[in-house]
């Protein structure tokens, strides 16, 4: 699905009959279809394995820069590249970021405390169960010396027995109760691992394929949509006029300053669209997209870029 933007809250765009007919035609050429399918599957898995906590997307930005050697990183952190030249001047975007966490405190006994980033502001509210996904699971802390595995503490099943009164409240787990255990016994040991305040933290990413090309992972919808955009660019479309492609940052924080920056620095644009895909189990660790939908999105983006 492509979202068309006339302003920041523009209506979504759906394929018309002509486009659908063209897709049927495209599907009659298996070699083309298989090639694009392999590409989008590979990139969707790769992107879904990455972490880009809103405002702290540097690692994924670097990866995209490496994927597209001609790309640029603007001062807000967005990755942009220019295809074609002349008029019209259009923009295709995909938001990279995700709701996540940063290290908010390092305790003397080596445990880390967290602060959530995104998912609590006006732009988007996380599910009441969002933080609970951390409890008792492996996380990754992105320290100065690389990724550090850790876990979020949970009460041992055995030690809860007989300690709760029947009918007692059953409150959800929140980030305020999240103690991250990286195996360290002191704050100095934590610092020795390269972990400092504000280090990004996310659930360990373990994308899973199941069923018929279903991809399950945190923010799988966004990442598969970005993979579709990247695959479309790699297909080297014959662009009509100028198409700016922007993988944007901070879409989940306050007023989407990443996209606003692209518009301010590189606009105005005659048309703006955003890559998006429908997802099941949204905002969970098993958010699921159908990669067949990503195939369709790739073709749709290429058609749009070529002005067809």
């Amino acid at each position: 699905m492509i979202g068309r933007e006339r302003d920041s809250t523009g209506p979504s765009f759906r394929m018309g009959k002509t486009a659908s007919a063209f897709l049927l035609l495209l599907s009659a050429f298996p070699p083309v279809l298989l090639s694009a399918q392999d590409g989008v599957d590979r990139l969707a898995l790769r992107f879904a394995s990455m972490t880009a906590v809103t405002g702290l997307e540097q690692a994924m930005v670097d990866s995209l820069r490496a994927l597209f050697p001609g790309s640029a990183r603007d001062q807000a952190g967005n990755v942009t590249l220019t295809l074609g030249q002349g008029s019209p001047k259009r923009l295709f975007t995909c938001p990279l970021d995700e709701v996540g966490y940063v290290v908010g405190n390092i305790l003397p006994d080596g445990f880390l405390l967290l602060r959530r980033v995104g998912g609590g502001g006006a732009s988007r509210t996380a599910s009441p169960l969002f933080d609970q996904q951390l409890e008792g699971h492996r996380v990754t802390v992105f320290g100065a010396r690389g990724a550090v595995p850790g876990v979020v503490a949970v009460r041992s099943t055995h030690l809860t027995r007989g300690r709760g009164a029947p009918g007692a409240p059953d409150p959800v787990f929140t980030v305020d109760n999240a103690y991250v255990d990286v195996g360290a016994s002191s704050a100095a040991e934590v610092q020795g691992l390269g972990i400092a305040m504000l280090a990004p933290v996310s659930l360990a990413k373990r994308p899973q394929l199941y069923g018929e090309r279903l991809l399950a992972a945190p923010v799988a919808g966004r990442r598969a949509a970005c993979a579709a955009l990247a695959t479309a660019v790699q297909a080297k479309p014959k662009v009509k006029g100028t198409v700016m492609v922007a993988f944007t940052v901070q879409s989940l924080y306050t007023r989407n300053p990443g996209l606003a920056s692209v518009k301010a620095l590189l606009g105005p644009f005659d048309e703006i669209k955003t890559a998006a895909l429908p997802a099941r189990y949204a905002d969970t660790a098993v958010e699921t997209v159908a990669l067949a939908d990503a195939d369709r999105l790739v073709r749709e983006i290429v058609q749009w870029m070529e002005g067809r």
Binding site: H137, S156, G183, A216
Partner: protein, 370 residues
């Protein structure tokens, strides 16, 4: 370790678990001693084997592959794996369990989603909205544990189901799903800082590992009596394998040492009333739990055995049951030995490998000198 009062195809070719974060798995730390290397080399493959209670076959086969070449093993009708070493009385039994907590498919709905029943006691929310694996004879089928519908805002979800992406009962069965198959979550052994590690089912793969290390290092010539090493089944659902072994041995053994988790309160979110054995400070004499009380004289003897070998041993009390308790009705004294574990029965259990080494050394000392 059993939680007392608990609640309880097509193979990976098409359903591939993609561990793109595998680089986070730290194989070995530069400072690891040879003992830590040895412990990890046995523990990691056992942790990454799957064996829900009643379906321990893959774990049992992994243990058999890791036995010393001289060891002759036998599997009893219950599924327990036995290795007998030495001759004569008094017979001593050492027993660790092979199984892990999980689920079993109890129904397949019209929409292809799988209904589950629990096998063992655990916090069900830890599985909600997470990747799933259905274990079949033809391989694993990937899926997801369904998130709850909106509207439930408590910690505990409604009964969990699994979606394998089938869409219908017929399609699910075509994929290879059938009633009675076991279901777990993908797992991975991962090193943490120092000598610590995380994974799922350390309970009781650490015990199984320690028995293997002890056997490998055992001075068989030093044995003064027979020692029977048992890797048991169905511990998490009621000590069933141990019950079968105990019935087979009757009054023959003098002592039994259950080698199982010491669930530790070594965490900022646990109450410090008891179970405070910290990780990294050695094995633990599990002097009192919910299934057995070790006579104090035997606890003292165990402490002396460990001290004579210079092996770290803590003494404590924790919750849960142990396999050794099934032997006590036959007059056998249960002297369980544990190892401290954080976050028991969760997908992110944490251990210190130094405790695995300590536990193996205590078992060896018990076999050779007590």
């Amino acid at each position: 370790m059993m939680a007392d009062g608990g609640t309880g195809g097509r193979a990976v070719g098409i359903a591939v678990m993609v561990f793109l974060s595998a680089s986070l798995s730290v194989p070995l730390s530069a400072q690891d001693s040879t003992r830590i290397v040895e412990a990890q080399s046995i523990l990691a493959p056992l942790v990454e084997s799957y064996g829900v209670s009643g379906a321990e076959g893959p774990v049992r086969e992994a243990v058999k592959r890791l036995l010393p070449t001289w060891a002759k093993s036998e599997t009893d009708t219950a599924g327990n794996l036995w290795v007998r070493v030495g001759q004569g009385s008094p017979v001593v039994v050492v027993i660790a369990h092979l199984d892990e907590i999980g689920f079993r498919v109890s129904g397949i709905r019209d929409d292809g989603t799988l209904e589950l029943e629990t096998r063992g006691g655990f916090i069900s929310s830890l599985f909600e909205a997470k990747p799933a694996l259905v274990h079949t004879d033809q391989g694993d089928i990937a899926g997801v544990f369904l998130p709850r519908d909106s509207g439930f805002t408590g910690h505990t979800p409604p009964p969990l189901r699994v979606d394998v992406g089938a869409g219908s009962r017929a399609k699910a069965m075509t994929l290879g799903v059938s009633l009675g198959q076991t279901v777990t979550m993908p797992k991975q052994y991962v090193r943490l800082s120092g000598t610590r590690a995380t994974g799922r089912s350390f309970d009781d793969r650490v015990g199984a590992t320690a028995q293997l290390i002890a056997l490998r290092r055992l001075d068989r010539a030093a044995l003064k009596h027979q020692v029977i090493f048992i890797w048991s089944v169905r511990e998490e659902i009621g000590l069933e394998g141990a019950a079968a072994a105990a019935a087979a041995l009757g009054t023959t053994p003098r002592r039994v040492h259950a080698i199982d988790t010491f669930v530790s309160a070594d965490s900022p979110i646990e109450l410090p009333n008891f179970a405070v054995a910290p990780i990294g400070r050695g094995a633990v004499a599990r002097a009192l739990d919910n299934s057995s009380i070790t006579p104090p004289a035997y606890v003292d003897s165990l402490v002396q055995v460990a001290r004579a070998r210079g092996v770290a041993l803590q003494v404590g009390t924790t919750n849960g049951g142990n396999d050794g308790s099934e032997f006590t009705p036959y007059g056998v004294v249960d002297v369980p030995i544990g190892w401290p574990l954080r976050y028991s029965h969760s997908p992110a259990e944490v251990i210190d490998l130094k405790d695995v080494v300590s536990l193996a050394d205590v078992i060896r000392a018990v076999a050779e000198t007590w």
